[in-house]
């Protein structure tokens, strides 16, 4: 099916490359700089719009209208909030471990940027198309545990410490089902490369082949991003603000930014791996991608504004006793499926 305007950004990239003639090294360097700038802008944009979306959706579900004062229908609210946070005092608690406390928010945001570099935003629009894309993505996003723990430990606050401990326990337990749920897709496509996974879905999205994988992924991803019903790291009803209790101003905003960047990332991965990425009729690929990401984001928002929070031990039980077996079963089923498929059509597949 034709996709109009798909090549828009790709052509722009070609144009820029063209400016440097044949000297590919300069062109590569310039393109890398531009790509990274775009990713930064994307993070800011995604976070600002997702925060607004979150507040709007929350409002609608609660029979409210959400932010409605600043700009048309309140669309500039988050911009104003960000400005306000920039202007706030940056407080270091007297007892805090200065370096650990100060660096934690930067790590969060740095890791998000690293992950966003390998996501295929459209056909030919992968900033860095690694051949171990998914592997890299999971490896880096697993590191997000560390800044949370740094925040919890560095604050030298009991609430924060409990929050940090919870972060470690929770993220490690949910990392495993998350990885396993994606393995099924990798087994089918026989590749780690993100663009290749999208290409493999030109006929059928993997959500149809891997429904269980999708469900496990969605649940594990909710826990990975620390969102309700798994928002124990923050756990405002018992831990006030968990690991972020002592943070103020821009440092706190960076955590917030990181949280929404992570939300965007897990949604983008789900869109890429299970929902066919940029594939879709008529519309340009990147618009399809955006629609799918938004759908996933809405799903996460919807969960958050409907469910209460689990308890820390229940969270662990659920992770290890339900999700992990399910994801392993998924791998087994996929393996059997592939085997049968190969028996029937020996020519195709692995």
């Amino acid at each position: 099916m034709p996709q109009y305007g798909s090549g828009l950004f790709v052509s722009i990239a070609h144009l820029i490359r063209g400016l440097f003639g044949g000297t590919t090294v300069t062109a590569d360097v310039v393109m890398t700089v531009i790509n990274s700038l775009i990713i930064w802008a994307l993070i800011a944009l995604a976070a600002l719009s997702l925060i607004l979306l979150e507040r709007k959706v929350a409002g609608w579900m609660q029979l409210r209208t959400g932010p409605n004062r600043l700009g048309p229908r309140g669309w500039f609210q988050t911009v104003a909030d960000a400005m306000k946070l920039l202007g706030k005092e940056d407080i270091f608690p007297a007892a805090a471990d200065k370096w650990v406390f100060g660096l934690a928010p930067m790590f969060v945001i740095g890791l998000s940027v690293m992950v966003m570099a390998v996501i295929p935003y459209g056909k030919g629009m992968v900033p860095v198309d690694l051949n171990v894309g998914i592997f890299y993505l999971l490896a880096v996003s697993a590191l997000t545990t560390i800044p949370f723990f740094m925040a919890g430990w560095g604050s030298n606050n009991k609430f924060a410490l409990l929050g940090g401990m919870r972060a470690v326990a929770q993220m490690i337990s949910y990392e495993i089902p998350l990885v396993f749920s994606l393995l099924g897709v990798v087994m089918i496509t026989q590749t780690f490369k993100m663009s290749a996974i999208v290409n493999a879905q030109s006929h059928v999205w993997f959500i149809l082949l891997q429904p269980l994988g999708f469900v496990v992924y969605t649940i594990a991803a909710t826990a990975e991003t620390n969102r309700a019903p798994f928002d124990l790291v923050e756990g405002e009803s018992e831990l006030t603000a968990g690991a972020f209790t002592e943070y103020t101003g821009m440092r706190w905003a960076l955590f917030f930014l990181g949280e929404y960047a992570n939300l965007f990332i897990v949604s983008a991965v789900a869109a890429t791996v299970f929902l066919g990425g940029w594939q879709g009729p008529f519309l340009p690929g990147w618009i399809w991608f955006a629609i799918k990401v938004l759908f996933m984001v809405f799903l996460f928002l919807w969960f958050r504004w409907t469910f209460p929070r689990l308890r820390v031990d229940q969270l662990m039980h659920f992770g290890w006793k339900v999700l992990l077996p399910l994801s392993v079963a998924n791998i087994l089923l996929t393996g059997v499926g592939i085997y049968i498929y190969q028996l029937i059509y020996p020519a195709i597949g692995g």
Partner: protein, 152 residues
């Protein structure tokens, strides 16, 4: 089956997304409070017979009034002061008032920046209200309307 309740909850929140919102757009759409709302107090000075019932009914000594006597030995108000910082808005004073000179109003925007602004000179407030045309000087607006009808 596990998950049935979760799905039901999701359904409820999803339905409400498209419901009519109940947010009040406060400064744009001023709410019309029911007439009995006790959110502010006002004094209709000409009606007051300076009996002091209001001040003695008040549990918190909010009201202080001073009176004087004119030639025909009739009491009249010389000052009527309310310390709103102590008021409970309980309405006991307006209930006690025999002529309903003191009444509750539905004005609810009573917030002020300075503590002194909570000291209300009720007679001055009445004069301000009359000056701004919010209430008529004459006590009974109904009779006035009737008169107007008769004339015109």
């Amino acid at each position: 089956m596990f998950g049935k309740g979760l799905a039901k909850g999701l359904g409820i929140t999803f339905r409400h997304m498209f419901d009519k919102k109940i947010t009040e757009f406060y400064p744009e759409d001023m709410p019309t409070l029911p007439p009995r709302t006790r959110s502010s107090l006002a004094l209709n000075t000409p009606k007051c017979i300076s009996c002091g019932m209001c001040s003695s009914a008040c549990p918190n000594k909010v009201i202080t009034l001073t009176t004087d006597k004119n030639e025909s030995n009739k009491k009249f108000l010389t000052s009527y002061h309310m310390d709103l910082t102590r008021c409970l808005f309980c309405g006991l004073c307006t209930e006690a008032c025999p002529t309903k000179a003191l009444y509750t109003t539905t004005e609810f925007e009573n917030a002020v920046y300075f503590r002194e602004d909570m000291q209300w000179d009720m007679m001055q407030r009445y004069r301000d209200k009359v000056a701004s045309g919010e209430i008529k000087e004459e006590v009974k607006p109904e009779t006035k309307q009737e008169e107007a009808k008769d004339n015109g």
